[in-house]
């Protein structure tokens, strides 16, 4: 079977959802939807044995073969791992949502359509081998995330959060598209596999670094890295199942995926290592630090997600060092990254679900109002505790293992000597450790403040009680996984992590089993990780206990300096600011616009005329000056003067007629009798028209033009006049090729059976012009008729289609 089609299974299923939702009222729509991720999970799991041996599977569906764009599903260790996460967590989330989303009150039809759309998008992102379709799915995740965050679209915050997340992630997506385009130029292919194969040649390409930076912009925005993370907390306006699914377990990991996937291409560059590791660590620190500031349960989790994503990111960066240093400890980092990614998906998904349950059962997520819930919600508490402790990095939970590996990797960075790491390398373990302390603190803060301490049930909107069992199933499963993994880390390692690591660093290992890493909970007293963990717990506990003392310090950061404020200012700027900018030049006056036009034209053309050495004056080619010509020129100038300076309407119109007659005279002088005749008659009719049309107009007035106005007008009009004259002289002086007119003179009698060349040109040689020129006249006729006769009246300012 072409399993690439399975990517589309959810979205095809989504087409049925509104129908099911409308027709089958008795059963929660979620039950139907649940089938999709479950089936997919089962199917994709069957690939496990294949990738475990380092194999891969490809299935392709062509889209635009002539450009090399196709839907290609490429399943190797890395994409399979993500695929299983997407479908696995997806199943649990849908199950959870069945109990979370009210069948009566919520628009489940739309909800599940968006969710299924997202599932397709996410599967597409991680399986696509073709960068263009990868981009397609990438944007689709942004769009479905937009729709899901804005699910409660009547709430201002939902709309705001939806837009914010879309703006930031789409921006990243576009930059990533730029990177893909650059890569396609460099490697002449859209296929990631082929690009990886060409990786050694790509490095020396001048666009290499640009592509690298653009790609990372895509990854960092999606994975909420500093400073782009600001969309993630606002994304918490989405229904909680969405937060658990998109904004912690899957979509935000797309950036991680991207970095992992492109490591074979960019990993060897120092820029890559520095950026990925550095930004990752900064994000880790920043997120964990600000998590303690939050008071909303979901906001704490959002910041924690930001910080954990930073952690994984920094590990991937550190893992890339193994291209330069063979020490096993560097290979360790990549392993740890994947390991932590799995663990994070499990514990954070669970925690989000618990936050949703608390919200559901107590009516609030404000941690200041919560407390002492343990007694009424024991199961929730257990799950929350497991998740939090795992997040804090304590045994016997999976987080402990990967966290310790993380600390080890950071410590190992000290030993790396390239790219200035010998100078700055010491910073990495320090930042990592401090961030871990805060991680411990916010983990405690989350679970203890909510479940322990004083009962404040009177402050809660609803009387709390334990959630229905259906809602608890999913978090309980996740909690079980968290514990299970701690005891069988190497099974997970063999089945999932090693194949993924192999995919990230294909050149370093012959097959997944060649990766020589064995995870142990206990490394002996000599291990740096152990002591660091002990330190984390000690300081973390201290910090947690003193939270009331130092939490107010956060208020010292002025709001105006926050990144959120920066975003808000940008959006405000894009509305009000742009409006103000636009008003600067959009005066609404036609004169202004014409001034821009004329000034631009005349200045540009005159300047270019001299810049391009195009101004030539060759008097030899000119015809002799004649008396009648000169006299008529004077008459014409005088008439023009009358038109410009006339004080009365009538005089101006007649002067214009005078100009026309004098032009007709020129036609006589320069041997154009047809023109002269036509001009004379037309001028007469025109003057009559002018008089008819303007009989009602008031007397000529300057309408209070100032001297300055007039001066500007004069300068601009003079420069237009000068431009016309100069170009005319130059063009006439550079007649380089004789006109085609000779042909008409030769053939008018013989071929066209005529004598008046001008007329024959008009009706024969260029009769087509004439045909449409009379069309212009005809349209002018009906236009005048229409303008005069038709007066649709409607009251302003009502608008269209009345």
């Amino acid at each position: 079977m072409e399993f690439v089609l399975l990517i589309f299974l959810p979205v095809i299923f989504a087409v049925l959802v509104p129908f099911v939702y409308k027709k089958i009222k008795g059963i929660h729509t979620g039950w139907f939807v649940l089938v999709v991720p479950l089936v997919l999970f089962g199917y994709y799991a069957s690939f496990l044995p294949l990738v475990m041996d380092g194999g891969h599977a490809i299935s392709e569906m062509k889209w635009i073969p002539s450009l090399g764009i196709a839907f290609t599903s490429y399943i190797d260790g890395l994409s399979l791992l993500f695929t299983l996460l997407i479908t696995g967590i997806g199943s649990l989330v849908v199950l959870y949502s069945v109990f979370y989303m009210d069948r009566e009150k919520e628009d489940l039809g739309s909800f599940y359509v968006y969710l299924l759309m997202f599932m397709t998008a996410m599967l597409g992102v991680v399986q696509s081998d073709n960068t263009m379709t990868l981009y397609l799915f990438w944007e689709l995740t942004s769009i479905s995330s937009f729709l899901l965050i804005g699910f409660w679209y009547t709430k201002d915050k939902s709309r705001f959060g939806a837009l914010k997340s879309m703006m930031i992630t789409v921006f990243g997506g576009l930059m990533m598209l730029g990177a893909f385009i650059l890569l396609s130029i460099m490697g002449e292919t859209f296929s990631v596999r082929e690009l990886i194969a060409e990786a050694p040649e790509l490095v020396s390409h001048p666009y290499f670094t640009l592509a690298l930076v653009l790609l990372l912009l895509g990854a960092f925005t999606k994975s909420a890295q500093f400073p782009f993370y600001i969309w993630l907390p606002d994304a918490m306006e989405a229904p909680t199942p969405v937060s658990a699914y998109l904004h912690s377990a899957t979509m935000v990991k797309a950036g991680i995926y991207l970095v992992a996937r492109f490591t074979p291409i960019f990993g060897s560059a120092s820029t890559w290592i520095w950026l990925v590791t550095g930004i990752g660590l900064l994000t880790l620190f920043w997120g964990s630090f600000f998590a303690v500031k939050q008071t909303d349960l979901k906001a704490i989790l959002a910041f924690s997600t930001v910080s954990q994503l930073g952690l994984i990111m920094s590990l991937l960066g550190a893992g890339a060092i193994s291209y330069h240093a063979t020490a096993a400890v560097f290979g360790f980092a990549t392993y740890a990254a994947i390991f932590h990614l799995i663990n994070h998906a499990a514990f954070k998904g669970g925690l989000f679900m618990i936050a949703g349950i608390i919200d559901h059962e107590t009516g609030t997520r404000d941690i200041r109002k919560l407390g002492g819930l343990m007694s009424v919600m024991p199961i929730s508490f257990t799950v929350a505790a497991i998740g939090s402790l795992s997040m804090a990095g304590l045994p016997p939970f999976s987080g402990f293992l990967s966290k310790e590996m993380f600390l080890e990797s950071m410590v190992a960075l000290r030993h790396f000597e390239l790219f200035n790491f010998d100078t700055w390398g010491i910073l990495f373990p320090i930042v990592a450790w401090i961030a871990s302390v805060f991680t411990f603190t916010y983990s405690m803060y989350f679970v203890l403040k909510t479940f322990m301490g004083q009962k404040k049930f009177d402050q809660l909107p609803t009387q709390p009680h334990e959630a229905p069992i259906g809602m608890l199933i999913s978090p309980m499963i996740l909690a079980t996984i968290v514990i299970l993994v701690f005891f069988i880390p190497n099974v997970i390692g063999k089945w999932m992590i090693k194949p993924a690591v192999m995919a990230i660093q294909p050149t370093l290992y012959a097959n997944p089993s060649a990766i020589d890493i064995h995870v142990k909970a206990w490394h002996g007293f000599g291990a740096a990780g152990l002591w660091l963990t002990i330190g984390v717990v000690a300081f973390g506990t201290l910090l947690y206990l003193t939270i009331p003392k130092w939490q107010p310090l956060y208020r010292m950061q002025p709001d105006s300096l926050s990144l959120n404020n920066g975003y808000d200012a940008m959006m405000r700027g894009s509305e009000k600011g742009m409006n103000r900018v636009s008003r600067l030049y959009m005066t609404g006056k036609i004169r202004t616009y014409l001034l821009y036009m004329f000034a631009f034209m005349s200045v540009t053309i005159i300047a270019l005329l001299f810049l391009k050495d195009a101004f030539v004056l060759d008097m030899n080619s000119f015809a002799a000056i004649t008396l009648y010509g000169s006299l008529n020129a004077i008459v014409l100038i005088l008439s023009v003067g009358f038109v410009v300076f006339a004080k009365s309407r009538l005089a101006a119109i007649i002067a214009l007629g005078g100009v026309g007659y004098s032009v007709a005279l020129f036609f006589v002088i320069f041997k154009a009798p047809d023109l002269a005749l036509t001009q004379l008659v037309i001028e007469t009719v025109s003057v009559a028209l002018f008089l008819l049309a303007f009989k009602h107009l008031p007397a000529l007035s300057t309408h209070g033009e100032t001297k300055r106005n007039k001066m500007v007008n004069l300068i601009v009009s003079l420069s237009v006049g000068v431009m016309v004259t100069l170009v005319a002289l130059s063009s006439h002086s550079q007649k380089m090729i004789p006109s085609i007119s000779q042909y008409y003179k030769d053939t008018v009698k013989t071929e066209a059976a005529g004598g008046n060349i001008v007329n024959v040109i008009l009706v024969d040689y260029r009769g087509f012009d004439t045909l449409f020129e009379i069309a212009v006249l005809a349209i002018a006729g009906i236009a005048v008729l229409g303008m005069i006769r038709l007066r649709v009246s409607r009251k302003e300012p009502t608008d269209e289609n009345e």
Binding site: I625, V640, L729, H732, Y744, N756, V758
Partner: protein
């Protein structure tokens, strides 16, 4: 002769643009009239002014003025006549509705900014 005509055309354009930039609707329209005169003369000039006879076949005459620009001008004249008529009536209707011929008072307001 081309020199004089070129300068003349320049003057026509200057006057035309000056009028078009003014505030009075009538002057603006007069300006467009001058503009088309200038353009037509320019076409004629660009064809060369040296011909000694009209481009009509008469035995014995060989040095015609260039007929092609003349044909183009004829087309252009008729077109500008049509356009001018439309513009005149439009101006006239506009005055009837807005009761002003001051271009400055005809600002397009950017509604709902």
């Amino acid at each position: 002769m081309e020199l004089i005509l070129s300068i003349l055309i320049g003057i026509l354009f200057t006057a035309a643009v000056y009028l078009i930039l003014s505030r009075s609707l009538l002057k603006v329209i007069l300006g467009t009239g001058l503009l088309s005169h200038g353009a037509h003369l320019l076409i004629l000039t660009m064809g060369g002014l040296g011909g000694t006879a009209p481009p009509v076949l008469i035995d014995g005459v060989t040095d015609f003025a260039d007929p092609l620009p003349q044909a183009l001008i004829l087309t252009a004249i008729v077109i500008s006549f049509g356009v001018t008529a439309v513009m005149l009536v439009m101006a006239y209707r506009m005055y009837a509705v807005h009761q002003t011929d001051n271009m400055n008072e005809l600002r397009g307001n950017d509604e709902h900014d």
